[in-house]
């Protein structure tokens, strides 16, 4: 057999596989941070339902293993990757999910945070690389989400509040599974937007009392539960 023939065939194969991927067989998911329904901007001032005046410096969170939910609640079974959403990196605020089925998509399932298996598996790559600053040092495990900012209600150094929520082992396993069911109209041109409204978190937190959570434990578990309220699809 000629090497030339082989190479030609290989070239054909490569171009075919590249081409097939450009077909729109995936759902593009946008993640949009909001406060009370308006787009959230860093360093803008907001007022929570608890009457705390606050600004945000940092919002980073893992949305991992997203899966499509189809009609009759059948789940797409593929294991999808980890996404680190960072308010300062617009590119990180979207990801796509392969849609190989012709069935109607009725919802989206994902984890807020990182599962315990990944937390005990050593040094990881990509979104889970420890250079992303989402890995604890003195105690192993990922920080599922970081929300930092300032509020005059916080009697802390520079009025800072810091929520680093994580924990991979029971009874303080802080990852949360999230399923959002939506209707057809939510999907436009194979795109959908998940709104993450931080007002719904800060309506449940009194910043004068709770302003620094940096370790796994009961408090982190509580914040992780409340955090589920932030997610919705219009």
């Amino acid at each position: 057999m000629h090497l030339k023939t082989l190479l030609l065939f290989g070239l054909l194969w490569t171009s075919l596989s590249v081409f097939s991927q450009t077909k729109s067989d995936s759902l593009l998911v946008h993640v949009q941070f909001q406060f009370d329904g308006a787009n959230l901007k860093l360093n803008s001032t907001y007022i929570s339902k608890q009457n705390d005046t606050l600004t945000f410096d940092k919002i980073k969170m893992y949305l991992s293993k997203p899966q499509l939910i189809y009609k009759n609640d059948l789940m797409d079974e593929k294991e999808n990757p980890y996404h680190l959403i960072d308010i300062e990196k617009p590119k990180s605020q979207q990801f796509s999910i392969n849609n190989t089925s012709k069935k109607k998509i009725t919802g989206l399932k994902f984890n807020i945070g990182v599962d315990s298996l990944a937390s005990v598996s050593g040094a990881m790559e990509g979104a889970l690389d420890a250079t992303n600053g989402m890995y604890w040092a003195w105690q192993s495990g990922f920080i599922n989400f970081k929300i930092e900012g300032k509020s005059s209600s916080c009697l802390t150094r520079k009025n800072k509040f810091q929520f680093h929520v994580g924990g991979y082992s029971e009874p303080y396993y802080a990852m949360r599974e999230m399923s959002i069911i939506f209707n057809e109209k939510s999907i436009k041109n194979n795109e959908i937007t998940i709104q993450v409204d931080l007002a719904k978190l800060f309506s449940e937190i009194r910043l004068s009392e709770t302003n620094a959570i940096m370790i796994p434990g009961k408090e982190a578990m509580k914040i992780a539960d409340i955090a589920k309220n932030m997610f919705s699809v219009q």
Binding site: L6, G122, A123, T131, W138, Q139
Partner: protein, 339 residues
């Protein structure tokens, strides 16, 4: 025929890209000493190579890991003393900052399930993040370490050799450090040679071995001389540190003042002793277990009764402990500063 062509093409595509770059790795085999258990470390996830080991060794001895490029891993983990820091009870970081604990030894880490005095770290690969980022140690970020390494031509080459890429990541940096430290096996002490029938204990060492087996071996289990567990060994609490040990990690009252049971291999040279380095000499350590135990709710059940050794027995025990010294390990040029 079509199928064959397909497979050939596919394999050409998959392997073609690699073969052009001519990447060759030299596999390293991890030797399990006779009588040692199966290692905990999963080598499948981080296949050892000579190139990876040498990269890790370079990183271990390079102050580039610290914020002001002044201290390296080796600053607190010196080979000749079982890879720990002597002369200091509490270990030092950059700018003379002092931590709250005595640096641990680095030996036989392939058999360790948890790391640090409180076991807070669950995998060898993520261990190095702690000293790199700790304010009182290297006070650096892993992100910045990676960008410093990426700017270094030397490291671009070393990463290329070790992992086949010049694109340095946190994961590869950590895995390389693991490849070096996981190789630090010590198994050639006199004790080992006696077990292998290559040497013989003196009468005093033999008696000391018996004392050891009666009084110490339940926690300091042979052949690793640790059970990899956590115990409260009856030290009075140092009120300047108020270190609760394992409890900080598990948040369980039952873990108050429990610390990792350290290995006793090379113990002759790993002074000072205990998590806060409070004892300078092995004599003081033995005296503590003999009559200095402080009772508390979480005191190890194995230490409820004092040892009450005679002076002779104490001398014998000390003689045995010195047979755990492995000079071949402490002076192995493969583990020393890379030249």
């Amino acid at each position: 025929m079509k199928k064959l062509l397909f497979i050939l093409t596919l394999s050409l595509l998959v392997f073609g890209g690699f073969s052009f770059k001519q990447i060759y790795f030299t596999p390293l085999y991890f030797e399990i000493p006779k009588g040692f258990p199966k290692p905990v470390y999963d080598f499948k996830n981080n296949p050892l190579t000579e190139e990876g080991f040498q990269l890790g060794r370079n990183l271990f001895y390079d102050p580039i890991l610290s914020r002001d490029n002044t201290i390296s891993c080796a600053s607190c983990h010196l080979q000749q003393t079982g890879f720990t820091h002597v002369d200091h009870d509490l270990s030092h970081g950059i700018e003379g900052r002092i931590g709250t604990r005595n640096s641990m030894t680095l030996m036989n880490l392939a058999w360790s399930k948890t790391f640090m005095w409180d076991g807070g770290v669950n995998h060898l690969d993520v261990q190095a993040i702690h000293p790199i980022t700790s304010e009182v140690e290297m006070d650096e970020t892993l992100e910045n370490v990676v960008s410093k390494l990426q700017r270094s031509e030397k490291y671009q080459h070393l990463f290329q050799d070790a992992f086949g890429t010049k694109k340095i990541t946190g994961q590869l940096t950590l895995k390389a450090i693991s490849q070096f430290v996981v190789m630090l096996t010590t198994s050639n002490s006199k004790y080992d040679k006696v077990l292998r029938k290559e040497e013989q204990f003196t009468d005093m060492e033999q008696k000391g071995y018996a004392v050891f087996k009666r009084n110490c071996a339940s926690c300091h289990q042979e052949p690793l001389f640790t059970n990899d567990g956590f115990e409260n060994n009856g030290l009075s609490i140092d009120t300047t540190l108020n270190d609760v040990g394992r409890m900080r990690i598990t948040q369980k009252e039952t873990d108050r003042q429990k610390f990792k049971v350290p290995t006793l291999r090379n113990v002759q040279f790993t002074f000072p002793y205990m998590h806060d380095g409070r004892f300078e000499t092995l004599n003081e350590v033995i005296k503590h277990y003999n009559s200095g135990i402080e009772k508390s709710a979480t005191l190890s059940p194995k230490l409820q009764q004092p040892m009450l050794l005679s002076d002779d027995e104490r001398t014998e025990l000390l003689a045995f402990l010195k047979t755990l010294t492995d000079k071949e390990f402490l002076f192995n040029p493969r583990f020393s500063f890379p030249r």
